[in-house]
């Protein structure tokens, strides 16, 4: 990928424009019971241009990243914006001004070769087969993903940004007493590539021992009781709670779409124990897993404090949503692939740690659940959210009991967050998943353990 900027034409009073060169490198390896089912790599390079003119946007992209092609793209994007005039005259928004100049590239350890990864997969697989009796299947998946973007805009932005994250998951499958499959998964994710996260056998071994223990418990799992229940969500769940429950409803495009949060700024939406922030690039003095110094519109990125001590404070936004709502820009517009246009997206969304201890929080539950692992989740304009529970336990009289079968938990975010009565001092970040919203997106999410009341799916 070239590092030479091809700046779009200087803005006229009537238009704004941006260009992005974007390279996305990925590798994915999947081993199923010693069989290397996937051993794949990809490099997707492209350039895009976007123009705002006459109240409309035009966008164009190509796999050809030559300077000449990028200039042609700007023309095509402008023609596209003008073609939208067929819909009639539209009021032009006064987009916020802002520009960023700088280079941010993560320098991690030396990457692992495909061969080193294949050997490591085989080693972990063999160790699991030897150590854990009764496994029907073991799946080990490793993935890394590296985005490198060169963004320029008509306001003077000229920035190089990179995002790199890696993921390792191990899934154990066994059978329950009726012969039905039961599975549990351990996730390890972090910044950088597969050489930067520690998925050595030594590092994985204690986690896999614990995972096998959960698998044995889940083979005798019981169905959760459907209905309202008091729960402790472990630190690995707080991030998805932040992301789904109030993250999405605080994206300004969804606010414009009618999300109820639009009427709640300055109002109490959560317990005063809850503070929630979408971090741009730095958390607690360290660079976040998904560092966004300037977004894909070229706007300098800043933290968005969504909830402060239980009160809804602000939204994440793009140039357009900032202008429409008359709120400060946060630099939250991001595009996943070279051919994607920027949309309002979360970056590193977290509920901040509190003072409680996880053990004490569990001890305080008379009849409820301890929820430890999740799958995918979904938000809604009403703030009613859900996410899957792939590992959890009953809690009776403060003691952890039987495992529960896979289920889903849900609730109104406002009721759930207002019901929070304890927040632990832990902090767990997870950056393994994708967020889906027209395009998929790499995000990270974090938080402590949280005690509250939710709806459990079940009998």
């Amino acid at each position: 990928m070239s590092t030479i900027a091809t700046a779009p034409p200087k803005a006229t009073t009537s238009s704004y424009s941006e260009t992005r060169r974007h390279e996305l490198r990925m590798s994915l390896m999947l081993m199923v019971d010693g069989n290397l089912v996937s051993n794949a790599r990809s490099v997707e390079s492209g350039a895009s241009a976007r123009v705002y003119e006459g109240g409309y946007w035009g966008f164009a992209s190509t796999s050809d990243t030559s300077s000449e092609k990028v200039r042609e793209l700007s023309d095509l994007a402008r023609r596209n914006a003008r073609a939208m005039a067929k819909f009639g005259e539209r009021k032009k928004l006064q987009l916020p001004n802002g520009h960023y100049r700088g280079e941010h590239e993560y320098k991690g350890k030396a990457p692992l070769s495909a061969g080193e990864c294949a050997d490591r997969l085989a080693q972990v697989d063999a160790w699991c087969g030897e150590r854990f009796k009764g496994l029907k299947s073991t799946r080990i998946r490793v993935l890394d993903e590296h985005h490198r973007k060169h963004i320029a805009n008509s306001e003077g932005t000229d920035a190089v940004a990179s995002i790199q994250r890696a993921l390792c998951t191990v899934t154990f499958i066994a059978e329950d007493a009726s012969g039905s499959p039961v599975e549990v998964t351990e996730f390890l994710s972090g910044k950088g590539h597969l050489g930067d996260i520690d998925w050595s056998l030594e590092a994985l071994a204690p986690r896999l021992d614990a995972l096998y223990g959960h698998l044995q418990a889940k083979r005798e799992a019981v169905a959760a009781r459907g209905g309202l229940a008091r729960v402790v969500m472990g630190p690995q769940l707080a991030g998805i709670l932040a992301h789904e429950a109030m993250g999405h409803p605080c994206e300004a495009d969804l606010v414009l779409g009618g999300a109820v949060t639009g009427d709640l700024v300055g109002k109490r939406v959560a317990s005063e124990l809850v503070t929630m922030v979408d971090y741009a690039h730095t958390y607690d003095g360290e660079e976040a897993v998904i560092p966004v110094y300037c977004d894909d519109e070229g706007m300098p990125a800043s933290d968005a404090v969504l909830i402060k001590d239980g009160v809804l404070t602000e939204f994440m936004n793009s140039l357009e949503t900032s202008a429409r709502l008359g709120i400060r820009p946060t630099g939250s517009a991001r595009a996943y692939a070279p051919s994607d246009e920027p949309l309002v997206r979360m970056r590193n969304t977290a509920i901040l740690p509190g003072q409680s201890k996880l053990d004490d929080m569990v001890a305080g539950i008379e009849d409820g659940y301890l929820l430890l692992r999740t799958g995918n989740g979904q938000a809604d304009s009403t703030t009613e959210f859900m996410f899957a529970i792939s590992l959890g336990y009953e809690v009776k009289n403060g003691k952890v009991g039987r495992a529960i079968r896979d289920t889903t938990m849900s609730g109104s975010a406002i009721k759930v967050l207002q019901g929070v009565d304890a927040v632990s001092g832990d902090m767990h970040w997870n950056s393994g998943g994708y967020c889906g919203k027209k395009q998929r997106m790499v995000v990270s999410m974090g938080g402590p353990a949280i005690r509250t009341q939710v709806q459990m799916g079940g009998e």
């Binding site: 490099v43 073609a83 989740g377 896979d406």
Partner: protein, 429 residues
């Protein structure tokens, strides 16, 4: 045509380079996709997006060791570097006798609209906007897209397979909410692919009009109230959620891991006699070739509830000794039943008309629990109030057996052609 020749040249040249590099077996796909897309945001026309993307997929096997790579720069240097890296990745992979490439497959598939007409896309976007303003003014069309997509590909293998495709389609999708005062509905979305965009009003496509009308009826909601065991009438979109789980059970990873519930069930009744599931690999937006370079011929998966086949790819088949059944990435239909759609509801004593399920992936054993969205209470055979904070739970494998009625009517979204389905025995909470 020149673009087609260009892809063929690129693919055959790369295959030759791979041979020279030392690969014993190889597969190359050169692909180009062009898309024009008119976007609506918050009920207003917003963006015209044009994309032109190329990529080349390379699969190489040396000494029984396999790797795959994909590059978007089809230039000679980029492809050569890709092949070199691929060779190193393959050489370091474990040897596996099941690693093969397709041989003897020949096809040229040309279907759907080959040219984009931006004026037509614009007209259809305007129809959506005008419909919502006129017929469903409480609806905020948060995001809608009208697009033309043309994907051309040329695949060659060292086994002599040669597959050429030029597949065009239009797509229309809408995502919205409805609002009255400070009350907001859940969001809803629908959409699909078609060949002929001009012939039908955009709002009448893929159930968009019905979705918008139902959004206005679901601004004010109530929870279901108490726990009970009842019926669900699933809309086609909700049906597709469950069929996706079922189809996933028939594929390579589940079969190789031995975790598929259906691994040894071919020839057995695994669903209601009302269920016949078969392919429609010639549907709009669907291409009847597989990623491992086989022609996907028509196939029936479920015939009156009896499982007729599993769907392992070449690798899965060689690994498990199960018959190889090539299937396209998508394109399925559930045959219509004989019950009018309204009778599905009138035959339900207590339950819900379920528009969408918000849930995690069902568990390996089929267990699931999900929040029902865009859904309405059914009591005494009549559709009642819109629901909120209501969950259902059950087991997908059991639900396939418990289907009580299938509608005469079906919704065609291109990749799916599905009826409405009534199923009993779900837990509401």
């Amino acid at each position: 045509m020149s673009h087609t020749i260009e892809l063929r040249t690129a693919a055959t040249r790369a295959l030759e380079q791979m041979r020279k590099r030392g690969f014993e077996h190889a597969q190359v796909t050169a692909m180009a996709t062009r898309q024009d897309e008119v976007n609506i945001a918050h009920g207003e026309p917003s963006l015209l997006r044009s994309t032109d993307a190329r990529r080349m997929g390379l699969v190489g096997i040396v000494d029984g060791r396999k790797a795959a790579t994909e590059v978007s720069d089809l230039g000679e240097t980029s492809v050569r570097e890709g092949i070199d890296a691929l060779f190193a990745a393959a050489k370091s992979a474990p040897r596996d006798e099941a690693n093969k490439v397709s041989s003897g497959q020949k096809a040229r598939i040309v279907q759907g609209p080959q040219e984009s007409d931006v004026a037509l896309l614009t007209d259809k976007a305007r129809e959506l906007i005008d419909f919502c303003r006129r017929e469903t003014p409480k609806v905020n069309l948060v995001e809608a897209v009208v697009a033309h997509v043309l994907t051309r590909s040329h695949t060659v293998t060292t086994g002599g397979s040669e597959l050429e495709t030029e597949v065009g389609h239009h797509s229309v999708g809408a995502f919205g909410t409805a609002r009255e005062g400070q009350a907001t509905s859940s969001f809803a979305y629908t959409g699909g692919n078609c060949h002929d965009l001009a012939g039908t009003h955009a709002s009448a496509m893929f159930g968009i009009d019905e979705m918008a009308r139902n959004l206005e009826k679901s601004i004010h909601t109530r929870p279901v109230g108490d726990k009970f065991v009842g019926d669900v009438v699933l809309t086609p979109e909700a049906v597709s959620d469950f069929l996706n789980w079922f189809l996933g059970q028939l594929c390579d990873v589940q079969l190789i891991a031995g975790s598929s519930l259906y691994r040894d069930r071919v020839g057995e009744a695994v669903g209601s006699k009302m269920l016949t599931l078969r392919s429609r690999f010639d549907a709009p937006g669907v291409c009847a070739v597989t990623s491992d370079a086989f022609v996907a011929n028509p196939v029936t998966i479920l015939e009156q509830g009896t499982l007729r086949t599993l769907t392992p790819g070449l690798y899965g088949s060689l690994k498990t000794k199960l018959p190889h059944v090539p299937v396209a990435a998508e394109g399925w239909e559930l045959l219509a039943g004989d019950t009018p759609r309204e009778k599905l509801v009138s035959g339900t004593q207590r339950g819900a008309l379920v528009g969408r399920l918000s849930m995690g992936n069902p568990a390996a054993n089929g267990d699931f629990a999900g929040v029902i969205k865009n859904s309405f209470m059914i009591d005494g055979g009549k559709v009642g109030h819109a629901l909120s904070e209501t969950m259902i739970s059950g087991n997908v494998a059991q639900m396939l057996k418990d289907v009580a009625a299938v509608s005469r009517e079906r919704l065609d979204t291109g990749t799916w052609l599905l009826p409405w389905v009534r199923i009993g025995g779900l837990h509401f909470s």
